[in-house]
Each structure stands twice: as C-alpha cells, then as structure tokens.
Amino acid sequence: MTQRADEAGLQAREAAEAAARRSYGKLIACLAAQTRDLTQAEDALSEAFALALQTWPERGVPASPEAWLLTAARRRALDAARRGRTRVQSTPRLEMMMDELAADQAADRPIPDERLRLIFACAHPAIAAPARAPLILQTVLGFDAAAIASAFLVSPASMSQRLVRAKQKIRDAGVPFSAPDLQAAPERLEAVLDAVYAVFTQGWSDPAGADPRSRGLVDEALFLGRLIAALLPGEAEPLGLLALMLYAHARRAARRDHEGRFVPLDAQDTALWDAPLIEEAEALMLRAVRLGRIGRFQLEAAIQSAHAHRRLSGATDWAAVVALYDALLVQTGSVVAGLNRAVALSRLSGPAEGLQALDALGADPRLEDYQPYWAARADLCERAGDTGAAAHAYGRAIGLESDPAVRVLLQDKLEALSHAG
C-alpha cells in the first residue's frame, strides 16, 4: 500500500516536472496574455503545480497535464482576484478571467503557443535594457532570479529587483503581448537573441546535465532559435545565432573523453563531430551572409565555421580566425573576444605574440576572476617555456573553475609541468 502510494507520488512528480519542462513558458504566456500580469501568472501557476502534487498521486495523472494545470492556475488567479489579493478587481477584468476559464473547460482545445509574443513583450523597448534578456529567461523557462543572476554576473538581489520592476512596468504601463511585427521586431531582436544564447550557454556549460535546471536547455535554445529564424527570414542575425549554436552542438560528442575529461576544441576527434549539423550550420551562414548585414552572431558563427573546417582540411585556418576576432572586437569591444583573439594569434604566430596580446588586455579588472583568461595565460606561458609563470596561472585557473572535468584537466597539466621542470 505504502509502496503503491510512493509509486503514485513519484509518477505524479515526474509528470509535473515533465509538464514544467515542456510547457512552463507556454502556460505563463497563456495565463498573462490578457491580464499582462506576469507576477500573478507565476504565482497562480506555482500554486497549480503544488495542487497537482497533492491531487495527482490520489486521482492519477490527467490525460493532458498542461490543460489541467492551466485550468487550475486560472481558477487560482480568479480566486485571488475575487479575494482582492491582486490589483485585478475591476468587474470587466474578472469577467474576462471567468470567460477564459469557461472557454478552456468547455473545449478540449490545444493550448496556443504564445511564447514568441511573450518573448517579444519582454524585449519591448519600454522595458529597461538590462532587464530584457533576464525577464525572458524567467518567464519563458522558469529560471529563478539566483540562476539568472549568475548567468549575467550580477547579484541575485539586484537581479530580482530588476525583474520585479520590469514585470510591474509590463502590467501597469500596458505593454501588449502582440505578435511581433515583422517591421518593428528587428529592434527588439538583440535582446531576444541574447536571451536565447544565454539559455544555450547555460545548458552547454553543463553537458552532463548534472544540474536539473540546465537539463534540456540546449534543445530549448535550439527550438527558440529555429522559431525566430523562421519568423524573421529576412534578418541575418537570427540565422547567425542558429548557425553558431548548431556548430557548437555538433561537437557535443567530442567534448569529453571516455573518462569524462574535458577535451579542448583543437584536440577533439573530428570524426565524432555531427556532420549533418555542421552542414546545416554552413547553409544557414551562407543565407545570412547573402543578406549583407554582418553582426556579432554571424562573426562568432564564422569563427566556428573556420574551426569546423579542420574536419575537411585537417588544419585550422588560424589567420582567418584571428581576422574574424579582429572584426568581432570592433563590433562588440568585448574583453572575451580580445582574449580569444590572443589565443588564436598564439596559434598563428607563436606563444610570445599571444602573450603580448594578452598583456595588452591585462588592465581590465574583470579578467582577475575570469577562469578562461588564467587558463589561456597558463598555456601560453608553458609553451613559451616560462614554467614559473605557467604554474602560477594554472593555480589561479584551477581555483576559479567550477566544472570538475575542466579542473581535472588543469590539475593534470600543472602536475606535468612540475615533472618537466
């Protein structure tokens, strides 16, 4: 009996988790489409999930968990509004909510996918620029403020304040959840693409899926990337972003060796790369370039393309990679681009040149605790024969690394260094 109850509880929890992964953003978009009240929608949905975990173990998982959750969340929102817990107290608002509830219950209609409307509402120019991408991550994927804060390198407290303000603005200023206007949408595109790429990198940095929050994120980002590219076929950057993600995703099987250790890009076995994905990315790049408007994502994808070329030619075209990083630096002024350029330069012209380029970046305080900077520095010093400086830099890099697979690789290198010296 208890065992059966446990099983039912487990089944219910799994079904609820699956529904959350599949449809969190879809449900939020649906719940907030008319009221524009994201906070209310999030509260109502989390109450619906709690109710599901109570009722599903006894009564079984419903045929359509999403429809069940939507109805339960609408009822909760309506109850809260009637009790005056929210701002939605005016009679027309209540009537509208009752109509929605009745319509959902009457017909077994599929839940419309309003996610793109939600995404573009979050990217509205009336929302403070630094809040746009984080807001997309929270409302579409259900990330909590702490996870978003770490992805955007700000404190959880200020991130959560930023998100609260943005949601208030959407509700009180009446920012519409309208279909993205193909004429007006491109100006909102930057924030949308940034958010999608942040989702991808969050999932990418955890290839083992050890953290349940990042499970499925790569697929989610690819789905959103394809959706946006299909919706805005005349825009080059969505194609660039999709190509960039596909190039990286194509290498997923080659990123770790049999023992789970990290394998750097230029040491990867190209036979393990996913050739059809690389070809799809190449075709996307060709389409993007023909549109004649270069941008950050296309440049990053072009760099990936130069790396992918090793699969055919056996060697990476480092001169092309350096030139592309030069262009990227001009476009973005990003210190990360500068770091990668220095590494590429060392491949082209030797470690001394690379170190010189790295020293030129040295003044930027953000590099102090940026792991890739120290790992690159260690590698260049080692190749230049400066064992002491290399050991110091490896130490810094190991101290800053959170991925155990990368940490092991760096520790092995430090070990080898002391044996050599």
Partner: protein, 118 residues
C-alpha cells in the same frame, strides 16, 4: 487603457520671429488633434500657457505658500497634454510618435492609474 501624453520641450519650440514656422506648427497640431478625435481615442487635450504664467501653491505647517513660477526651474517644460484611451502601450506610443511636439521636444507617456472600486 488611458494614457497621458505630456509634451515636454524647450520654452520656445520655434523662433517666434519666423511667423511661418509658428503657423506650420499650429497647423500640424490642429491636424494631429483632428486625427485623434476622428480615430475616437482622444478624451482631452490642450496646450498650456507659457510658464511665465505659472503659479505654484504649497501648504506647509498649515500655511499656504503661493509662489510665482513653475514648481521646478528647468529648461524642459510641460507645454501641453493629450489624454487618450487606447488598447495598449504600443498604440499609445504610436500616437506619441505622430505628435508634432515629438519633433522638437519629447513626449512622456504615462498610464493613468486605475483605482479599484472608484
């Protein structure tokens, strides 16, 4: 939803010495107001007399203070307003964009707060 479009700009939108410019601006505002009325979105709207006519009132410690001039001295001044009723912020912003005042000054768009039960 109702929005207040506040036309904020320099004290003199055009050089008064050029009567033609002034006439053009007046004509543009009249056409804009007519378009708003015909679209059925306008509730109210008026230009304001210049800030040299402003008087500011405060009550402090039970005493009424009446001062000549605007509440804050600044280069940018409220020159007029429109109160409109439209479905959402995007529609309000598209009306703000068409306002002739947007050409020389700025239009601040503020939603009207709805007081439940009032």
């Amino acid at each position: 939803m109702q929005y207040l479009l506040m036309i904020v700009g320099d004290k003199e939108p055009v050089d008064k010495a050029h009567a033609d410019d002034m006439k053009n601006l007046m004509g543009a505002f009249m056409a804009y107001t007519r378009a708003m009325r015909e679209a059925g979105v306008m509730i109210a709207g008026d230009p304001l007399q210049p800030i040299s006519t402003a008087t500011t009132v405060r009550v402090r410690d039970g005493k009424t203070q009446v001062l000549d001039g605007p509440f804050a001295e600044s280069k940018e001044q409220l020159g007029g307003y429109y109160l409109i009723d439209v479905p959402d912020l995007d529609t309000a912003l598209s009306w703000a964009e068409r306002c002739p005042g947007a050409q020389y000054g700025a239009i601040e768009v503020r939603p009207i707060m709805v007081i439940p039960g009032a």
